[in-house]
């Protein structure tokens, strides 16, 4: 540490060799709060971010400190913290520990292959409790913003954007989550589908998450009209569809759109689905395992055939076709239920 009476010097050494809090301290920043108290932000090397109180003369640490962003090691540990205050909020800009190379996105660095963003819902129902997730009520703004985020996410090798929640999710009757949305074809296409259409056409969107709700009486997650005819055929989407949490099981337990779990699993397959979260027989366990490390594997997909995605070290996934029996065994290894015919109708699917 050095001190001077003027910013431009001359500076005289005050002390040397400080090893703050007994830690190996890396890149850092200093700041003074409005009350004059000083703080020292630093990387405890290859460990976590420390914010330590400075002594009154700013030439040492008091021993009081807080810890932030603990990580297992590089490249996840944050370094080179820079602090600033703007309009009453404190901000930190930090870097991954990537050894002088530019940082990949955190998703890429953590080996996450699918990011559940952007949210392309057009929010026009103020009673709905998830307004804040969206880009707002204007589909013409949501389209370019969602397209830009999609491009940004997918510019990282191995990362795919999963836009959600297809379709008209924010418009549930009475502002209710997952309720029916009564909407005309033209409004559906020109307002609610527009941001998705833009991200598909302009950014090559790789993933879509269908919504929990019904549109004009059809449960979107099981709907040929919305997932196959509209999303795939009309909008030209050819990527993966990922269920929202428990959406498939909800098809039985909440929406009553399938008679049993097996049918609930089968229907979305016909609609070009892939499996995702919180379904204990498939990727629920899979994603838990993978969140601890390694690239996430997504076991299911793709239209018009049922195929299984298997982990592939080069790109993450490869597909093989499965027979129905194998498919059923894949979902329900401990059950003897046979797979329903794809012609079988359920109460409110179509």
């Amino acid at each position: 540490m050095l001190a001077a009476d003027n910013l431009l010097g001359p500076y005289a050494i005050v002390r040397t060799g400080l090893r703050p809090l007994g830690m190996s301290a890396g890149d850092f920043d200093l700041c003074a709060a409005p009350d004059g108290k000083g703080y020292y932000f630093f990387e405890w090397v290859h460990s976590e971010t420390i914010i330590a109180d400075l002594t009154d003369d700013y030439c040492g640490v008091t021993g009081y400190y807080s810890t932030h962003f603990p990580q297992a090691g590089p490249p996840y540990v944050r370094e080179a913290t820079a602090h600033f205050v703007r309009k009453g909020k404190h901000y930190l800009i930090t870097s991954g520990t990537t050894g002088y190379f530019s940082n990949p996105s955190q998703a890429a660095a953590c080996g996450i292959s699918h990011v559940f963003a952007p949210v392309l819902d057009v929010a026009r129902e103020p009673r709905f409790g998830r307004m804040n997730e969206s880009y707002g009520e204007d589909e013409t703004l949501a389209a370019p913003l969602g397209t830009a985020l999609t491009k940004g996410l997918q510019s990282n090798a191995g990362v795919e954007a999963v836009a959600k929640h297809f379709l008209a999710f924010h418009q549930g009757a009475g502002g209710l989550h997952g309720a029916d949305v009564s909407v005309g074809e033209r409004e559906l296409l020109e307002v609610y589908a527009k941001p998705f259409a833009a991200a598909i056409a302009l950014a090559g969107l790789k993933g879509v998450m269908p919504c929990y709700n019904f549109v004009n009486g059809e449960l979107v997650s099981f709907s040929k009209r919305y997932l196959t005819d509209l999303l795939r055929a009309q909008l030209g989407f050819d990527g993966l569809a990922v269920s929202d949490y428990c959406a498939i099981m909800n098809g039985v337990t909440v929406n009553r759109a399938a008679e049993n779990a097996c049918e609930a699993g089968w229907r979305p397959c016909l609609r070009g689905w892939m499996w995702s979260s919180s379904f204990p027989t498939d990727s629920g366990t899979n994603s838990k395992k993978n969140s601890r490390g390694g690239r996430r594997t997504l076991p299911f997909s793709t239209p018009p055939y049922c195929a299984c995605l298997k982990p592939n070290s080069a790109r993450g996934c490869s597909s093989i076709r499965l027979q129905r029996k194998e498919l059923c065994a894949c979902f329900f290894p401990n059950r003897r239920e046979s797979f329903p015919s794809d012609r079988r109708q359920s109460r409110s699917c179509y």
Binding site: M1, D5, D27, C31, G38
Partner: protein
């Protein structure tokens, strides 16, 4: 005169010299911005010269920077000084202490063994 910041290009000071303020910070004081950082003008990666002190620049528009000289010069006489050019000094940060009316500068010194 600069009217923009040009990423990826060499940035010159008001005298046409290459700006030397690596690992830098910017302070604002009485209508002027001050940008200070490591002076690497004698560092070539081959010799043991890691730094040549801390250089500071001033500006009113953040584009055009006037060289204010070495505000912390290297200590050439004492090989054991943290300010000796062979000392792995990085990322100077200056904080004004209103209580003591001193400008306090912290420097990160890395040991040769990486700690």
């Amino acid at each position: 005169m600069y009217r923009s910041i040009r990423p990826g290009q060499i940035w010159l000071d008001t005298e046409g010299k290459r700006i030397q303020a690596h690992g830098g910070s910017v302070m604002y004081e009485r209508g002027k911005y001050y940008w200070y950082g490591e002076n690497k003008e004698r560092t070539d990666g081959k010799s043991e010269i890691w730094h040549w002190g801390v250089r500071c620049y001033s500006s009113e528009d953040l584009y055009n920077w006037k060289d204010e000289g070495l505000i912390i010069p290297p200590d050439l006489s004492d090989k054991s000084s943290p300010l000796h050019p062979a000392s792995m000094m990085d990322r100077p940060h200056i904080l004004y202490n209103a209580r003591t009316k001193k400008y306090v500068c912290w420097l990160k010194i890395m040991h040769r063994d990486g700690t």
